[in-house]
Amino acid sequence: MAHIELRNITKKFGSHTALTGLNLDIADGEFFVLLGETGAGKTTTLRLIAGLEKPTEGQVFIDGVDVANWGAAERDVALVLQQYSLYPRYTVRQNLEFPLKPKIRRLPDAEIKDRVDRAARTLRIEHLLDRKTDRLSGGEMQRVSIGRAIVRKPRVFLMDEPLSALDAKLREALRTELKNLQMQLGATFLFVTHDQIEAMSMGDKVGVLNHGRIVQTGTPHEIYNNPRDTYVASFVGSPPMNLIDGRLVNDRAVMAPMNFELPLTGGAKASGAADGRPLVFGIRPEDVYLESGAPVEARVHDVENHGVEKILTLRVGDTMLRATVPARTDVAIEQPVRFAWNPDKVVLFDKGSGVSLRHAG
């Protein structure tokens, strides 16, 4: 159980700056996801908390105490990585016991057995306890790795892309399992990933990291519905938010490339944007809909079939935009269609800075 705070962290590797002025506040018992592309600084952040790296500037606090002088062992955090790093010749039980059997301060045998059994039950790997780890599937191995972290009862779990090496079905299952585990343990989790679906589905809070800076921190709902800038808007959501260049003319959105027009509502107008100001209009695919009398004509460029729904790529001139439509919508490639958007859901971004007008003020 721990509260983690990173204050104004900068980390340089030689001339390369990995993190710049990073502030993070992870509450006790929170599932916090750090989301970013490769090289954004996610793993560096994790290693700073674990005590495997020292910040160039700034401080790391665990439960309010500056841990600058604490070694990795004293910080009492558990790291789970994408690679499993299990002992192949040991059984699952021996692997789970291993962290509890250091040369000094060894736990009593009864306590070790109790912790291992409990972890195995939590992770549903009891039936595997006597098996050698090289006989396990990827998902089972990752469960054992997590089990090795659990038995120690650490203050914090730090997880570095633990699901990335698994196939899609298994990832889907383990997502829920991990979330379930965190709720059961009531532990603080910091989970690092490049996969926005993992971030959205598991995080109590998500921090979006780009080029060593935190762009936005919020609940999945906030990040999805009210992205701070076009980077977050296009990174979170699958398919991503449509972003179309245009300007405001007489309270309507006029798109630059093809001059097509769409209506806006009070909320968007009240954002303070002046007529003629270059903007980027953001709209989620589920807020674009087909309708025979709708204002804009497009061609169906592509149909992605998800069974439960279809994701259409619509083409207006050279502009492409996505629309999520019900599975029963019957459309063919190159068919002309008409579309509109839900004007309440439009997000306006400044063309120059990419920052949402809702966040600018």
Binding site: M183, M200, G237, R284, H301, D302, E304, V308, I333, E334
Partner: protein, 367 residues
């Protein structure tokens, strides 16, 4: 005009049988996707059609003519692989022209054919470049161009976009589909990615352990899976599966899962349609969108408790505790506020599937 037919194909690697009595008729111009996990026999099937692999039993017919004894080169079929296999020392133009050089085509005609294919694939400006200067997507366009230029009878593609990153894969998938719509040619495409299969195919052939599990349009395999394997392989989030017991209850049929104290209400005719399976060995399948959730009580809905909620942007996936089982439901974003909330759920009878537990086969019940 190319029809391909596979009749009673069997294939062994040593003692291991990798294809079992495979029968499939592919119509002219059809886009067929072979879908399955690695090791299911999909690539072996494709390679057998191409002539890169022999078969131990059965017939491969192209336009009614058995070709299993013909060499690959004599089958007039083009193949595109995941690895691009371009000649690094040749320009894009020469790479595409290569298959035509072996024929007696005049250079004027070669030039015309290459430029036509390049135009379709939008790589005209790359014709003078070497492959090393190209992006992954462009390399695969060139590889497709090289396959297309001969105007083969059929195009066979083995995970052609599997090595590309997600964004490029989407783009290339759209292009392959558009190309097929525009050019039209009998196409057989192998993938393990169900979204690719659902988006590209006229018909999907789902394979598992060397057996065809189901052949059908994307809508058929999604809405009417033939067995539990197909039901769980296609669709994300995955279909809920639970052993179920059925009871006759005051004019309706009640379907209980996870030993819950109450069952889900179904129309009375379910009992007769189950045709003797009501006694036991019955598995219920329902996709998350077929589990309907409301905040208030309503006729036909039973009270359940929400557990983990996965927000996925435009919608949430909510775990509902039903007895000892968890059923996952798809709801509007934010509809259920958090774990522990009491809500009401029912199963949409039209979206329910019933399987024989032992064989895994669908009972074909439609309500």
């Amino acid at each position: 005009m190319t029809q391909i037919e596979l009749r009673g194909i069997e294939k062994f690697f040593g003692a291991v049988q990798v294809i079992h009595n495979l029968n499939l008729a592919i119509a002219d111009n059809e886009f067929i996707v072979l879908l399955g996990q690695s090791g299911c026999g999909k690539t072996t099937t494709l390679r057998a059609i191409a002539g890169l692999e022999t078969i131990d039993q059965g017939d491969i017919l192209i336009d009614g003519k058995a070709v299993q004894h013909l060499k690959a080169a004599d089958r007039d079929i083009a193949m595109v692989f995941q690895s691009f296999s371009l000649y690094p020392h040749m320009t894009v133009f020469e790479n595409i022209a290569f298959p035509l050089r072996a024929t007696r085509m005049g250079s004027g005609e070669v030039d015309k054919s290459v430029r036509e294919v390049a135009r379709v694939l939008r790589i005209t400006d790359l014709l003078d470049k070497k492959p090393s200067a190209l992006s992954g997507g462009d390399m695969q366009r060139v590889a497709i161009g090289r396959a297309l230029v001969r105007r083969p009878k059929a195009m066979l593609m083995d995970e052609p976009i599997g090595a590309l990153d997600a964004k490029l894969r989407e783009e290339m998938r759209a292009e392959i589909k558009r190309l097929h719509v525009k050019q039209g040619s009998t196409t057989i495409y192998v993938t393990h990615d169900q979204i690719e299969a659902m988006s590209l195919a006229d018909r999907i052939v789902i394979m598992h352990e060397g057996f065809i599990q189901q052949v059908g349009t994307p809508d058929e395999v999604y809405s009417h899976p033939a067995n539990l394997f197909v039901a769980q392989f296609v669709g994300s989030p995955v279909m809920n599966i639970a052993e179920a017991s059925v009871a006759d209850q005051a004019g309706a049929t009640s379907v209980t899962v996870g030993g819950a104290s109450t069952g889900f209400e179904f129309p009375h005719e379910l009992l007769s349609k189950l045709n003797g399976h009501a006694g036991g060995g019955l598995t219920l399948g329902v996709r998350p969108e077929g589990v309907l959730v409301r905040r208030d009580a309503a006729p036909g809905y039973m009270p359940v408790e929400a557990h983990i909620i996965e927000p996925l942007g435009s919608f949430d996936v909510v775990d509902l505790k039903v007895g000892s089982k968890v059923l996952r439901a798809r709801t509007k974003a934010g509809y259920v506020s958090g774990p522990g909330e009491k809500v009401h759920a029912r199963i949409d009878p039209e979206q329910a599937h019933f399987f024989d537990t032992a064989s895994g086969k669908s009972l074909g019940v439609r309500l």
